[in-house]
């Protein structure tokens, strides 16, 4: 499992802790995670580092009752695709929210949480989750 890999967890700090992404100044599109090549403009693209906004809305969601290894004890939990205020989309868990309020269009904001620690000897992976506001 790559989740337990210390170098991976370390190099993802910016992305997973602070929503570090980037923005193409040519086509004015925000990317999260940051891309090395703008898929719209390729060599004509001009990518600059940018932090993503912490607020967005739910595009779609599911409540997971049977999770993969490492998440067996978390079920049930919500997974959603969220569109941030700058139109970038990401997938995240939804936590600390009343079940009835998790719906398409609901406004959400980023929170900082433990994601997984499936290897008892290994590091704990932290990162973003979102909650309904």
């Amino acid at each position: 499992m790559t989740d337990g890999s210390l170098p991976l967890i370390w190099r993802k700090f910016g992305e997973r802790y602070d929503l570090d992404g980037n923005f193409c100044e040519t086509c004015k599109t925000a990317f999260f995670p940051a891309r090395m090549v703008c898929p719209n403009c390729r060599r004509k693209g001009k990518l600059v580092a940018r932090k993503m906004p912490k607020a967005g809305k739910i595009v779609t969601f599911t409540e997971v009752f049977s999770g993969p290894a490492g998440f067996e004890h978390e079920t049930p939990y919500f997974i959603a695709i969220i569109e941030l205020e700058n139109k970038a989309r990401l997938l995240s868990q939804i936590v600390d929210s009343e079940k009835e309020k998790v719906k398409i269009g609901a406004k959400v904001e980023k929170v900082f949480r433990k994601i997984s620690d499936i290897d008892p000897e290994g590091p704990i992976a932290y990162g973003y989750k979102f909650k309904v506001v």
């Binding site: 993969p68 290894a69 997974i79 695709i81 990401l90 997938l91 994601i115």
Partner: protein
């Protein structure tokens, strides 16, 4: 322009084969294909084997060489092909292109997955690798969860219901009853699906394909040669493939698999056929919502009308379009084998040898294989030819 035909097919039964190994399964399918083609092992010039995650499932990589070795086909070039759940479809396309290029006349294509040597949670991790490891599986997004995210949008936008999705599974089970090789032989009702418990809402257990062991194989041959050695060659009119973003969040639309649309349009154009010419289709219904997405994206029904079409029985055996006579997801889904099994089923349909599940007068068939949540799609159009009498 060289053309390519299928001259032999083989397929194991699909199911939980605790007593049989990866090697035994692929050898059974491979020998059946070679024997049915009426050729000998020495006639096979190259081999392509599709397997999604043999490393995760049985700790074995390098399975291209393994398959050639076990079939006694050394020293021919043997290559493993991996594109998640589309590994089989891409292996078929690799064999097709190898003959098309002029390098070979006869090529063996296999697809296999041996999934039950690990537990369910480990299998979920292996399958999760078909999505984006860093931004999906890391957050606990299982494979059913990804398709559930698409299902929710389809329901919200077009009014597709959980009952309509359940109907896909009911029909798949019904067809599976007629296929001796399918994993399940049990009729189910919409109520059974609705009561089967959520795996990832709105998808329930019976909306999902099972974990399966199985292998399938086909022998491909250059068409002029095929006509001389085979009574009923099945010509591959078109073999196409497309890709999309690995992660679902990056897609331009969540209510369609754009890679499917792209591959389909190109296939129809290359083969100079229209969707109306298709008599039978084996499509990639890893989840019931995938069936609805596919019948729309392949062009059989307008976007948003797939759920209603299934509910009205338009996709049943010998109805408007016969979808998945093999039983589709309920036939079992040994991921790397599925794309090849589809070609085996379409071949049998076009030869009129599909027994109780025969689509009447089937002339042209389509096989549609998807990898991951839609980052890869392949389409193959097949047609029966007159051969040696």
């Amino acid at each position: 322009m060289r053309s390519v035909s299928i001259i032999g097919v083989g397929c194991t039964s699909f199911g939980e084969h605790w007593d049989r190994s990866f090697r035994q399964l692929i050898v059974e399918a491979g020998i059946e294909a070679i024997m049915s083609a009426g050729i000998e092992g020495k006639d096979v010039e190259a081999l392509y084997g599709g397997s999604m995650a043999s490393g995760r499932f049985i700790g074995q990589e390098h399975v291209g060489a393994l398959i050639a070795d076990q079939l006694g086909l050394n020293p021919i070039p043997a290559t493993r092909v991996e594109d998640a759940c589309a590994s089989g479809g891409v292996a078929l396309r690799s064999g097709y292109m190898a003959i098309k290029s002029g390098d070979y006349d006869i090529v063996a294509v296999g697809g296999i997955e041996k999934m039950t040597d690990v537990g369910t949670e480990q299998a979920a991790i292996a399958l999760g690798g078909a999505g984006d490891q860093e931004t999906e599986l890391f957050h606990g997004a299982s494979f059913p969860a990804l398709y559930a995210l698409m299902a929710r949008v389809h329901m919200n936008k077009f009014g597709t219901t959980e009952e309509q999705m359940a109907m896909c599974s009911v029909q798949a089970h019904k067809n599976g009853m007629l296929n001796p090789k399918s994993q399940f032989h049990r009729e189910i009702t919409v109520e059974d699906v609705m009561n089967s418990g959520y795996v990832a809402s709105p998808l329930k257990l019976l909306d999902c394909s099972p974990i399966t062991d199985g292998a399938a194989a086909v022998i491909l041959c250059e068409t002029e040669k095929a006509k001389k050695i085979c009574e009923e060659p099945i010509e591959i009119l078109a073999s196409t493939q497309a890709s999309d973003t690995l992660a679902l969040a990056g897609r331009k639309s969540l209510t369609e698999i754009i890679a499917t649309k792209k591959a389909t349009q190109e296939a129809y154009k290359k083969a100079n056929v229209s969707v109306k010419d298709i008599d039978v289709v084996e499509l990639h219904d890893c989840f019931s919502i995938a069936n609805i997405l596919a019948i729309e994206d392949l062009g059989f029904f307008k976007k948003g009308e797939g759920g209603k079409a299934v509910e009205q029985g338009k996709t049943a055996l010998n109805a408007e379009i016969s979808v998945n006579p093999s039983g589709g997801l309920k036939c079992g889904h040994p991921v790397g084998a599925t794309g090849v099994k589809q070609a085996v089923e379409i071949t049998q349909q076009l030869r009129g040898k599909a027994d109780k599940r025969q689509v009447k007068g089937a002339k042209i068939g389509l096989a549609h294989n998807v990898g991951g949540s839609g980052a890869t799609a392949t389409v193959h159009l097949l047609k029966a030819l007159e051969g040696r009498k």
